[in-house]
């Protein structure tokens, strides 16, 4: 019940295209859903996060869509660039804890 399931495992997108990564969860107590970006040899870096009181959050080319009833959330990267090539992790956390449960990651490759 504490798992966060992420798909796809890998994704290849052409430059300028839209990258979409999906996550699903079971624990309805989760109330914080961040996305992290990780480059090889580096730690994950917070990209964007959402709480369940909104259905969408946009920051630049990155958008989180959140479907509370379906217990799913997704990351959309518009106008994908080669510099976006990295591994992306969704995560979830719940009230009264700062502990994050991470998904298994999606390796994104953007080709020029």
């Amino acid at each position: 019940q504490q798992q966060v399931k992420q798909s796809p495992q890998s994704l290849i997108v052409q430059k300028g295209g839209i990258s979409i990564i999906n996550c699903a969860y079971e624990n309805t107590a989760f109330d914080y859903f961040p996305w992290y970006q990780q480059f090889p040899g580096k730690g994950p870096a917070l990209l964007i996060a959402i709480r369940p009181d909104v259905s969408e959050k946009k920051e630049g080319r990155f958008t989180i869509s959140f479907n509370k009833s379906a217990k799913q959330f997704s990351l959309h990267i518009m106008d994908s660039q080669p510099g976006d090539s990295a591994t992306y992790f969704c995560a979830a956390s719940w009230e009264n804890t700062d502990k994050l449960i991470f998904g298994t990651g999606t390796r994104l490759q953007v080709f020029p």
């Binding site: 994950p44 992790f89 804890t97 700062d98």
Partner: protein
């Protein structure tokens, strides 16, 4: 410093050896976390400190793992009698305040047990 600093960056240990991994969080950050990241996997929670208090150690895989943050700043993760399954990247993160406002991760220590 400007970011979370971890040392060493790489550590090779013989099976059965004890290791100590250091984390220097961002100055003034109250919360400090340790995560373990196996190859090709997402980070998995190990333990959490708020200042010097260890509030959650539910993720530590065995009693061979021990973490401390005695003065509420630098933290050390110690692994005794290392085993091959301990090979992973150990990530430290800090946060300015509690309540899920986003962590800053360090680059990690890659531990290889041979």
């Amino acid at each position: 410093g400007a970011g979370v600093s971890q040392s060493p960056r790489y550590k090779v240990a013989k099976r059965g050896q004890d290791v100590a991994l250091r984390c220097d969080p961002i100055s003034g950050h109250v919360s400090l976390f340790w995560y373990q990241q196996a190859l090709g996997q997402g980070p998995e929670f190990l333990t959490y400190f708020q200042n010097e208090a260890q509030l959650d150690k539910s993720g530590l895989p065995s009693d061979r793992f021990f973490a401390e943050r005695p003065e509420g700043s630098v933290s050390t993760l110690k692994i005794q009698r290392t085993q091959q399954e301990d090979s992973a990247v150990y990530l430290c993160a800090s946060s300015r305040q509690t309540g899920n406002y986003g962590y800053t991760f360090g680059s990690g220590t890659r531990l290889t047990v041979v």
